[in-house]
Each structure stands twice: as C-alpha cells, then as structure tokens.
C-alpha cells in the first residue's frame, strides 16, 4: 500500500514538472507569437500608409492629366476662334491681304511644328519657358509651350 502511495506521489511530481516545462515552452512560443504579431501589425500599418500615399499620387496624377487635357482643348478652341472670330471668312481675308496672311500662316505653321516637337518630348527653350506676353508665346499651343504664360 505504501509503495502505491509513493508511486502515485512520484507520478504526480513528474506530471507537475512536465506540466511546468510545457507551460514554459508555451510561454516562449506565445512571446515569439506576440513579437511576430507586433511586426505584422507594423508592416500592415506601413502598407496602409503606402496605400494612402499611392492614392494621393494617383489623384494628383489624374488632376494633372485633366488640367493638361483642358489646356489642350483650350488651345484647339483658340485655333478655331482665330479662323472664325466674329464670323470672319478666312478665305476672303486671304484674298484681300494675301501677303500678310501668307506670313501669318507660315509663322503659325512653324509654331505648330514646334508644338508637335514639344508634344513628342522636346525640351522647352528658355525663351519658351520665360514667355509671359502674347507677343512672346507660341500662339498655337501656349498650354504646353509656355508654362508661365497666363492668358489675359
């Protein structure tokens, strides 16, 4: 009988030791998990911040594109107005002032060619960048050729 009791006590002690060891292992794992979760949360926060930045960048890019399209449309409308301003008949004007109109359309043609060069990626010249007066701008496409020109 005594041997059984001693055996039971030994078993109980061994079980307790095993349980404490298991708790220690679990504790270590939990600590490890907590560190990993903290890292994961920090990473998620960084991702959310980056996403916010991306959205802002997308909005800014969209805004800039819309501004560009609007400027280009204005340039196109201006061209239309120049030909037909106040019901003007461009053909009749050319008949009356042939030499002057020839000079004007050749100047316009050169400007239009320069606009295509700029649109294809050519760098703006200092003169184009600094143009602020009507007499200085490229009248065919001030929207892309003369960034500092404010229509007046």
């Amino acid at each position: 009988m005594r041997i059984y009791i001693i055996g039971l006590i030994i078993l109980a002690l061994l079980g307790s030791v095993g349980y404490v060891l298991k708790l220690q292992r679990d504790n270590a794992i939990l600590k490890d998990n907590a560190v990993k979760l903290e890292t994961a949360v920090a990473e998620q926060k960084a991702i959310i911040t980056k996403q916010k930045e991306d959205f802002e960048e997308i909005l800014a890019a969209n805004k800039k594109m819309n501004e560009l399209v609007s400027n280009l449309k204005k340039d196109l409308d201006d061209l239309d107005n120049r030909f037909n301003k106040d019901g003007r008949d461009f053909g009749k004007v050319a008949l009356e002032k042939t030499g002057a109109i020839e000079r004007i359309i050749n100047k316009g043609s050169d400007n239009a060619s320069r606009c295509i060069e700029i649109a294809s990626g050519a760098e703006l010249t200092e003169e184009e960048i600094n143009a602020t007066k009507k007499s200085e701008i490229n009248r065919e496409c001030p929207g892309i050729a003369n960034p500092n020109y404010v229509p007046y």
């Binding site: 109980a12 079980g15 307790s16 095993g18 349980y19 298991k22 292992r25 679990d26 794992i29 939990l30 490890d32 998990n33 990993k36 979760l37 890292t39 994961a40 960048e57 997308i58 890019a61 800039k64 594109m65 560009l68 399209v69 280009l72 449309k73 340039d75 196109l76 061209l79 239309d80 030909f83 008949d89 461009f90 053909g91 050319a94 008949l95 042939t98 109109i101 020839e102 359309i105 050749n106 316009g108 043609s109 050169d110 239009a112 060619s113 606009c115 295509i116 060069e117 700029i118 649109a119 294809s120 990626g121 050519a122 760098e123 065919e140 496409c141 892309i144």
Partner: protein, 106 residues
C-alpha cells in the same frame, strides 16, 4: 494533467513571398525634329506671279492646293494629333514615374 499536455499552443508562422517584377526600362523615343514647310497662298490674281517666283527660285512650278476651309481642317487635324501625342507622352511619363519611381526610392 497529462491530457492537458497534449493540446499545446501552436507556433504562429507568418510568411510572405514577394517576387519583384523585372523593370521594363524601355527608352523613350527621341523627340521629333520636324522640317519647316512653306505655305503659298495663290489667288486668281497672284497665281501667275507665284509660279514665276517659284521658277525664278529654281523650284518646280507646281503646287498642291487646299481651299481655305481645308486649310482650317488640316490645321485642326494637326492640332488634334499634337494633343493626342502630348497626352500619350504624359501618360507614359506618369506610369513610369508611378511604377519605376517607386523602385528607385527603395
């Protein structure tokens, strides 16, 4: 007591796999450098004079004509092509800036 030892806390494993895409890195085409063209306005009154002037300059006395209306149309067509070119180029720049700008910053 022994049974509780069987169900332990499982180790959490977080893993991620990120494979970066190779950069495309295509060069942008060179900007255009266009030849300048000269327009001649011919009316019934100055036609003879214009052709004589061409001959005097050693240019074949032949002209390819447009009416005033068609001249306006060609001007507008070119303006539209130019606008499209600009928008397309700008889009390309924005995409490059958005995707490749990020890679440069890393």
């Amino acid at each position: 007591m022994f049974l509780t030892s069987c169900s332990g806390v499982k180790q959490l494993s977080i893993f991620k796999e990120e494979v970066k895409r190779q950069e495309l890195n295509l060069n942008k085409p060179n900007p255009l450098v266009l030849e300048r063209i000269k327009w001649h306005i011919i009316t019934s009154e100055n036609a003879e004079e214009v052709f004589k002037k061409l001959e005097a300059e050693g240019i074949d006395p032949v002209l390819f004509g447009l009416t005033d209306k068609d001249f306006q149309l060609i001007a507008k067509n070119f303006a539209q092509i130019r606008n499209q070119l600009k928008v397309t180029n700008e889009l390309l720049d924005k995409y490059k800036e958005y995707y490749e700008g990020e890679l440069k910053n890393e």
